[in-house]
Structures are given as C-alpha cells and as structure tokens.
Symmetry: C2
Subunit: 207 residues, 2 copies
Amino acid sequence: MFIHFKIPGGTVVRLSVYSRYLNGLKRNGVHTISSSEIAKGVGVSSAQVRKDIALFGEFGTRGVGYNLEDLDKEILAILGLDSTWNVALVGMGHLGCALASYKSFKQRNFNLTCTFDNDPQKIGKKINDIEILSVERLEEIVTQKQIRIGVVTVPSEVAQEMTNLLIRAGVQAILNFAPTRLDVPPEIVLRNVDLAVNLELFSFNIK
Amino acid sequence: MFIHFKIPGGTVVRLSVYSRYLNGLKRNGVHTISSSEIAKGVGVSSAQVRKDIALFGEFGTRGVGYNLEDLDKEILAILGLDSTWNVALVGMGHLGCALASYKSFKQRNFNLTCTFDNDPQKIGKKINDIEILSVERLEEIVTQKQIRIGVVTVPSEVAQEMTNLLIRAGVQAILNFAPTRLDVPPEIVLRNVDLAVNLELFSFNIK
DNA sequence: TAGATTGTTAATCGATTAACAATC
DNA sequence: TAGATTGTTAATCGATTAACAATC
C-alpha cells in the first residue's frame, strides 16, 4: 500500500482503537458492521469513522456496511500489524518487567525478542521466558537480530547512552519512558511516554 | 484564578512541558527568559509559547521577556501544582511498583498516599515507604483521606470493579493503565494510558 | 532614540462535522 | 422501489503561525 498524502496523526491512533474494538467483536459471529456501530463502540462520530477508513480505500458497501473480518484485516494491514515486529527492551527495572509481561504486545504481533540490563544480579534471569542479557551485548545482538524497535526504560542518566547504542545497532523507532529529552537523528522515530504529564492534566482539570 | 473560556488541551500539555523546562533551568542564576528561548528549549514556535502563556494573563514585560522565577510560579499555579495532590494506586504488580517508585511524582507535588492490592502475599509489605493495603479497605481509607486522584494498574478483568470502588470513595480523576474501556460518570475525569498504541504508531510509521 | 520582545489580531492551516449523492 | 449506509464534498470549527502595534 502506498500512501502519498499526509495522514493525520489522530487517524492512526483511532484506527488502532477501531482495530482493537473489531478484534473484541469477532467471536460473536457478527459479519457486518456499520460506521455508526463502530462509532458508538469507541466513542467518536460515525462520519469520523468513515473518513478515517476511507482515507485508505473503499472497504465498505454502500447501503450495507463493512464486512467485519475484511475490515479487521484491512486495518491491521494499514497499521502494519499483519507481520511480526521484533522489539528490544533496555532496562529491566519494575517498568521494564511490567512491559515484558504485558500480554497485549504479543497479541498485536509485537515480539519482545530480547531484554537488557547492566545489573549482574539480573543478567541471566528470565522474565516471561525472555532472558535478560548484559547491555555489553546490546549492539551485537540487536544488529544481528535486525530489531527495528527499541524501548528505553532505564534511569534518565543513562537513557541517552542506551539510545545511542540502539541507534548504532540499527533500530528505527524508540519508545522512551525515561523522563528526559533524547537527542536522535531526524530519521529515527521517537515517542516519549511521560507519566507525569497525565497527572498534571488532572490537577489542571480538577483544581 | 477563574478561566471562563475554553483552554485547548494542547496548551495544558505544553504548559506542563514548559514548566519542567523552566524547573531545569533555575539553578543557573538566569533571571530573564524570552519566549524564543523557551521555544528553542522545548521544540515549539515562540508564537506558540507566547500564546499559551498569554491565555492566562500578562506575565511578561514587552521588550524584556519573562522573569524566570515568576513565570515558573505562575505556570505551576495554572497547572494546580502549587499545592499537594494525594493519589491512591490500586494494583501493585510490576507496573504499580514502577509507578510507586517514580520520583517525578513527588517532585511535582503528587503524593502517593496509599496503595492497594488483593494478594495476601503483598499486603503489609512496603514499597518506597508506602504500605500495601488490602483492597477491602480501599473505600474506607480513600474516603477518609479525601483522595481525589486514583491510578488503576490492575488486570483488565477487575479494572471496572476497582474504578467503581474509587469513585464511591470520592475520587474525581482516574488514570487507567488497564487495556480496557472503563465506564465512569460524566463528572469523573478519566485518562487512559495505552502502552500498545505507541508501538502501533511505530509499526504504521516505519512499515 | 534604537533595539528588543511581549501580547494580540488577522491569516493560514488542518481536522472534524454535516450533508448528501451514489449505490447496495 | 424503499430503506439503509457508504464515500465524498462542502461547511464549520479550532488551533497554529505570521505579523505588528504596544511598550519596555
């Protein structure tokens, strides 16, 4: 699929939401679903649903709706979830362990291939069947396994260093949980998950 | 401060970012800062910085810039971070423990007052000086301590049940990490942190 | 006064919503 | 044919950017 125009960021987030909603429905033997049913299920307008989907092609039938299974497959393909993605995780503290045991990842075709830490106490142990390896071997192994996505759950002080290692090993996207600004070359896709910001939106809203 | 017009959601997120940037600067003895310096520091346009700030009042001096300390205090007050917020956390698995040890919360005036779990093995233990209590006591204690913010880090199956308990106990805002849609009354502020969505944005972007 | 930078208005841009022709 | 629902266009809404008068 070649998309040569700009897709709004919001559309991609919503497609991800639609996708999980459709996944949850499938087992009930439903075969057809309308944009307004999806809209109701996830809390957006039906026009929004149709617009988001129609950006990528004509997947529905006028007067009828969308075939559930087809639509599900199409959206998975749009999101790139029709093939497996290998992921490397650096920093096996509490947050790293939490992510390593997170079942939704595997369900959605993300394969946590290897995890790293620098604590000799942790190296060699297994979390969820994945061995914790020494960061000394990070570059070698991530390169060798051609991993394209890295997750950084180390303390802020070493986050940049670990990021550099991941980039040298060839990852293209980095999900950063350390509360610090990372410097990455423009071709690397960086997303920061800031847990503090969520609470600050609350204090603003309910103060 | 009474704000009687609508504040864009993006503005609040950016104020939170400006605030942490200003906090990081203070020690260097800088007294004045311009919108373009802030803009450069956090990666937005200077017009955006001025617009965001000016929504709440005239905090700068034309021809000069903003007084660093004053601006810092004003933004903290806007975000409601000039007073302490008590927070209750339900579910002391890996993610709960990770959040309980997260230092930025305390730094930003969020006080993790109590944590709950239903595992007898965990109840009574301490994480970061905070005792883990039985969920049976949740309603009683959250009510008594007048806690207004709840964080849900339990498995999806019990997330709604724990949410109901928190709401009955009087919390006004809920931060949900369980990958499930929660039903809450309209007056409750709900935010969902979806860890899977971040990876799906990657697979879309780099596929 | 000349230089700098805010606060604000107007212009631009982009995203959402409404409406409806096309079509099953 | 009548009823339903998509795909798409046009209208609306909101947020960002550009520009500049006000002011130190």
